[in-house]
């Protein structure tokens, strides 16, 4: 950790790193959601980040994931000599902050109150966000005239140029997080385990994925509103 990085460059890197930390339920970066209350760097390479959430009772498991992910992302930055991430104004702030700092994991942070770590929970939500991202891409193709069953024969590579690049990149990224194939030859529509969806399952799968997407988007909107109510109209720095 002896690399010296200019303060301004480190600060920019800090914001970029935080921009890659997502709320696992809402599937949006904590920076876009306004969850970063402040981020400062010092000349000596110390990074201080304060996070905040829409309510005092936001689920502590998801809160822990975001604080830990932010901590990990910042510690990986060249020039970040010392990193401190704090969660503010939450009923479990003390436990979460201490747990993340010690690096001993979630169970150790809540002795007797948690069973196991959070990886399975994270996977459940990665599956949901993957299904929702898949539906966004499929919806565009259907709007342009494709029939649902015909989507079964498409690959990630074959729809390039037919759907917005951003949506396709997002789908690939979510798929990589689940450890599923992301190459151009991979099927466009797959289930949680990577099995290509058979044509007859596609309409129902997409219909349910749409409800998932509506649920995620709606939840994100509610959280934004509650954050504004709690902290005022001002945007995050």
């Amino acid at each position: 950790m002896s690399v010296t990085v200019p303060e301004a460059a480190l600060e920019a890197a800090v914001w970029r790193a935080l921009g890659a930390v997502r709320d696992p339920e809402l599937d949006e970066p904590v920076t876009d959601l306004g969850f970063v209350a402040s981020a400062t760097v010092s000349a000596s390479g110390r990074v201080d980040v304060d996070l905040r959430l829409p309510t005092y009772f936001c689920a502590p498991n998801f809160a822990f994931m975001m604080v830990a992910d932010a901590h990990d992302a910042l510690r990986a930055l060249p020039g970040a000599v010392e990193v401190r991430v704090r969660l503010l104004d939450h009923f479990a702030s003390a436990e979460i902050n201490a747990g993340v700092t010690s690096g001993e994991g979630f169970s150790a942070a809540f002795p007797g109150l948690a069973e196991g770590e959070l990886e399975e929970l994270r996977r459940v939500f990665r599956r949901k966000t993957h299904a929702a991202c898949q539906e966004v891409v499929a919806r565009r193709l259907l709007a342009d005239g494709a029939v649902p069953e015909a989507l079964a024969s498409l690959t990630l590579g074959s729809v390039r140029g037919l759907v917005p690049r951003r949506d396709l990149d997002r789908l690939r990224h979510r798929r990589a997080e689940l450890g599923l194939p992301t190459g151009p030859g991979a099927a466009l529509l797959v289930d949680d385990g990577g099995r290509p969806l058979p044509p007859e399952e596609i309409p129902t799968r997409l219909r349910l994925a749409r409800t998932t997407r509506i649920s995620i988007e709606g939840n994100a909107g509610l959280c934004r509103g509650l954050l504004r109510t709690r902290y005022g109209e001002g945007e995050a720095p």
Binding site: F57, A59, F106, G112, L113, A114, V124, G221, G225, R230
Partner: protein
Amino acid sequence: MYEKDGERYFIVDEHIHFWDGTPANQANRYGEGFLNCFYDYHRNLSPEEHRWDLEHFQKQSEEDLMRDLFEEGHVDKAVFQPTYLTDFFVNGFNTTEQDGALAEKHPDRFIVNGSFDPRDGELGLEKLSELAERWNLRGVKLYTAEWKGGSKGWKLSDPWAYRYLEKCQELGIRNIHVHKGPTIYPLNRDAFDVADVDDAASAFPELNFVVEHVGLPRLEDFCWIATQEPNVYGGLAVAMPFMHTRPRYFAQIIGELLYWLNEDRVLFASDYAIWTPGWLVESFVDFQIPEDMAGEYGQLTTDVKRKVLGLNAARLYDIEVPEGLGLQVPRQRETGPVVGAERNEEVLR
């Protein structure tokens, strides 16, 4: 009863509270945090003219409640759902007894629901019988994620939960209202998970399971279960006020619910005192699916609105609907659902 444009609607508010969230009753910082969290929901989603100051939000008088519900709120009948939270509030936040005292003064206005916790074992079964007899219970409100001693929550599918549900059947308690999240423990699971409702609803087909807040923020999981279990209902508490702040999102929620469940299993609720029913009823009667979404979701007919606002809950609680306030087109269901163009038969395989 609410009347607009010559149409009349019988109103049942299936989810109300009579709480004490005053600082004097707050046992600790959790109680304070809980009340303030509710208050932010209230402030964020209420129209400006219906926003209260914190002090008024902490506790309402009997006069406030009677006015907000029955004089200004158009409500004909309201269902009390208790929220004990005895770890957070000295005398509990909102107990069956607090509700019951008010209901006894206005017997034609309220239905009193109780609660149980299967971790109370045999003793709890006896207490449930007493509670049922004392208040003539037809429903209970359950919080599966509540922490108790060394336990980090429970599931409706637990063996002891089944014993309590059997007891409910025996006692004539038919309506099981289930509240998922936002609670504190258990920490490593998803407190909003509704999977256990599926098991219990299959095992107890004669009971009705009302998932409060229509499973939000897990709308899709709730819809999936409700599609397969005909005795699962969705309570609209918390979803209703989106009509004001985010009408297009509300249109999507109600559209999704009518698509997956149909219009017989969606129930109006204000979650009073988080919101007052008056503006919710008025807004819902005026509400329509936006034109560009009507292709997907159809339109809300006055009969769909009648069912959601009161007739569905009246059926669950055997509430007599006055002459002339029933459906305009009787037995509409048999002629096919009005909204939610196609039924999803393939998911039922």
